[in-house]
Each structure stands twice: as C-alpha cells, then as structure tokens.
C-alpha cells in the first residue's frame, strides 16, 4: 500500500512535467536567442575590458545558477528529511550534475576571462576559490549518490550531506575571504561593480533567464529519467521474483 501512495505523486509529476516542458523549452529558446543577440550585437564593448566583457554574459549566469541549484538541493534535502516527500530526493539527485556543470562553466569561463585581464588563468581570488570549493562539494555529493546503490538510503545520506554543505558554504566563504585579504590586501580585481550600464544589464538578465529555463528544463528531464529509473529498478526485481514463482510452480508438476 505504501508503494502505491509513493507512486501516485511521481505519476502526477510525470503528467505535469510533460505538459510543462514544451512551454519551458520554447521560452528558453526565445530568451537565449534574444539574449545572445543583444549580448553579441547590441551591447557595447566595455571601456576598460574591451570585448572580453562578452564572457561575462555566460560567466555570471553560470555563477548564479550554480548557487541556485545548490539552494534548490538544500531545500530538497529538507524535503527529504522533514517531510519525506518522495519527489524531494529525486529532485536533489537530478540537480547535482546540473549544478556542478554550471559551476564548471563558471570556472572555465572565468579562467578564459582571467587570462587576458590578469595575465593568468587562475588566481586564488576569494570569489573564484569559493566557486571551486562549491564545485568540490557538488562532486562529493555526486560521488555519494553513485556509491550508495539503494536510492531510499542514499536519499537521506545525501540530504544530510547537502545540508551540512549548505550550512558550511557561508563559513567557507567567510574564511576564504579572510584568508584572501590576509594574503593580498586590496589588490583584488573589482568586477564591473554595481554600476553596470543598462545596455549590458538587459542582455545579462535575459540570458540569465534563458539559462535558468535551460537548467530547469534539464532538471525536469533528469527528474523524469530518475523516476523512470527507480520504476525500472522495482519492476525488474518484481519481475525476477514473479518469473521465479512461475518457474517454481511449473517445476514440481
């Protein structure tokens, strides 16, 4: 009976997500097309950084999304631990690789931006370093998912790890900042600053929306795949037992 209740909810999710997905994909395509058009052909080059500012249009959304997906995972973690919602750990498992990919994109584009600006692919700047640590936490979570075979057990373990990480991230950020200022006082490169020109802000926001929609669509698809994977798993075990029973009934006769 418990399994029936468990299945009901994901079934509704499968229906809902199938309806939702085309709309999200359409909106995503529109936002990305408009955003990239504005970013490449309309936005002016920065007076300080020249054309390399074009990297910002993918770098910054990736950083936002890496953080957003981690926050989503932390929420799902609470969902798993507190409400034991059957979809929560599915959402969490599906989010981890996507968040890790955005963190990776943020780091890679940052490196390609840093080389012409600072003369090196990497500096141990507080912001970059924190993103690298976030990537490491993502990788740890993915590794834990892959190591624990049984999804129901893995869900709780990973939820706890995610929440520990979530509590830790501000502490890590704070200590990295402290460590960083300790070593290189005030020599850190200032990125854009809050006074970003509207001709750059709009493409940035639209692109951020597009990437968010892309990430969320991927998340939905990955969740659907995960739900199906679990169904395949249970059905396979049931199937093996059923055929075994049939064979056992047939054998003595």
């Amino acid at each position: 009976m418990a399994s029936l209740i468990e299945l009901a909810n994901p079934t509704r999710f499968m229906r809902l997500s199938a309806v939702l997905l085309p709309w999200m994909l359409g909106a995503m395509a529109l936002a990305l097309a408009v955003g990239f058009y504005l970013a490449w052909f309309v936005a002016p080059a920065d007076y300080q950084q020249g054309e390399t500012i074009r990297i910002m249009f993918v770098h910054v959304p990736a950083a936002w999304l890496a953080l957003m997906f981690y926050s989503m995972m932390a929420l799902s973690g609470i969902g798993t631990l507190v409400w034991r919602h059957p979809l929560a750990d599915v959402a969490q498992k599906a989010a981890a690789p996507i968040g890790a990919c955005f963190a990776l994109i943020c780091l890679l584009t940052g490196a390609f931006w840093g080389k012409p600006m600072w003369g090196t692919y990497w500096v141990w700047d507080a912001r970059l370093t924190s993103m690298l640590v976030l990537l490491l936490i993502y990788l740890g979570i993915i590794a834990l998912w892959r190591t624990l075979d049984d999804p129901s057990r893995a869900g709780r373990a990973v939820a706890i790890l995610t929440l520990i990480g979530f509590v830790n991230i501000p502490i890590i950020k704070f200590s990295v900042d402290w460590w960083n200022t300790l070593h290189q006082p005030a020599s850190v490169f200032r990125m854009g600053g809050p006074t970003i020109h509207p001709s750059m802000l709009w493409p940035l926001l639209i692109l951020a929306l597009g990437f968010t929609l892309l990430g969320l669509s991927l998340h939905l698809i990955a969740m659907r795949a995960e739900i199906m994977r679990r169904r395949v798993r249970t059905l396979t075990i049931l199937e093996a037992e059923r055929l075994d029973r049939l064979a056992a009934q047939g054998a003595p006769a």
Binding site: Y121, W122, L132, L136, G140, D149, H183
Partner: protein, 222 residues
C-alpha cells in the same frame, strides 16, 4: 590463458565504470588536495608555481592510495578471488591484470588531468608536459607497489587503515625522481632525462616486484 587475463582486465574495467568505481573518486580527491594546499601556503602564485610539480606529485600519490585497499579486498570478500586462484592462469598474471586495470582507471586519468590542475598552481607552460609525462610513467609504480600492499591487507578487516602506512614509505623513491624530473624541466643543472629514466626503471621494477610480491601474499592468504 590469455583469455582469463583479458577477462579479469575487462571485468575490473567494467566494475570501475559501474557506480562507485574508484577512478573518478581519485580524480576528485586529487582536485581537493590541489585546492587545499594554497589555503595552507597562501595564494602567492610565484611560490605556488615554484612548488607546483611537488604539489601535483603529492596529490597524485595520495589519490592513488584512495580505494587501493579495495583492489583485492572486494574480491576476497565475495569469493571471486577463489575463482581467480582456481584458474589455470598463474596468480602473477592475474595480479598483473588487476594492477593494469587499476592503473587504467586511476593513474592514467590522474596523469591526464595533471596539466589542467596545474593551472590552479600556476604551473608554467614548459612544465606541463614534463609533469604529465612523469606522472604517466610514475603512476604504474604506485599502482603496483600499492597492489603488493593491498594483497597483504586483503584478508584484514581493517586493511584500509594500515595500507597507506605500509605503502607510503615504499613510494619515496618514485616521489623523489618524479618531482626532480618535473623540476629539472623548469631549469636547473640536471638534465630532464637523467631522473626521468631512473623513474622509468623504478616503474618497471615495481611492476615486476609488486606483481610477484602480491601474488605471493595472495597465495598464502591463511
């Protein structure tokens, strides 16, 4: 006979590709160590770039030890080692197959990833190929020295704790010549090839000695 060799190699690669294989974990651990070092030393890129090869080598060495304890232990626990022992294939060749598989899923990715992680410690471009090269020829030594240790601890329940303590001292020569070969590429009085060839020799020696020692340890399990 070669069929059994290939079967062991293929099975270990397949197991590594399945969930929880040690290969990608070693890579993540490698990255973690490289990230940790600057927090201790400070972010001074000049300093980091000078000791970059050393950091990478230490990181690679420690990452090789991750999951090494499972090399024979998992086979011992579920009884597949009995299967391998019952094979007509000499145990030495079986160990060779398993060590080779371990290197392919652990050492090779580490060596290939090293130049990329070298960026984090501002490794000069001239040093990237030498560091990757030394890791490429040096990690087999780590795999096979480790295999001997893993065979010794295969039937111990807490073997995973003892293993690094047993193996780490044995890897000192590899570390010395690996780092000095990488450093000599950055300048200095020693030509690159001198330590590099010694490193190659150490690797070949470790493959032979490690294989024989591991097989001997597995043979007299009790």
């Amino acid at each position: 006979m070669s069929r059994a060799f290939i079967a062991i190699l293929r099975r270990d690669l397949a197991l590594a590709a399945r969930a929880g294989g040690g290969g990608e974990l070693a890579l993540v651990f490698f990255l973690t160590i490289i990230v940790l070092v600057p927090f201790a030393l400070g972010p001074d890129l000049n300093l980091l770039s000078r000791i970059g090869p050393a950091i990478l080598w230490i990181g690679a060495l420690l990452s090789m030890l991750i999951g090494l304890d499972r090399l024979f232990q998992s086979d011992e626990e579920d009884g597949s080692l009995d299967l391998i022992r019952a094979s007509a294939l000499p145990l030495e060749l079986a160990v060779l197959a398993k060590g080779l598989a371990h290197w392919l899923v652990t050492g090779l990715p580490l060596a290939l990833a090293a130049p990329l992680l070298g960026l984090l410690v501002a490794l000069p471009g001239a040093a990237m190929a030498p560091v990757a090269g030394t890791l490429l020829v040096g990690t087999p030594a780590l795999s096979f020295i480790g295999a001997a240790g893993a065979a010794l601890t295969a039937s111990l329940r807490r073997g995973g704790l003892i293993l690094p303590v047993l193996v780490a001292p044995l890897t000192i020569p590899v570390l010395i010549f690996g780092v000095s070969a990488s450093n000599s590429a950055l300048g200095g009085t020693i030509p690159f090839l001198t330590p590099f060839l010694i490193l190659c020799a150490l690797s070949l020696l470790a493959i032979v000695v490690g294989t024989v020692a591991a097989a001997a340890a597995l043979r007299q399990a009790e």
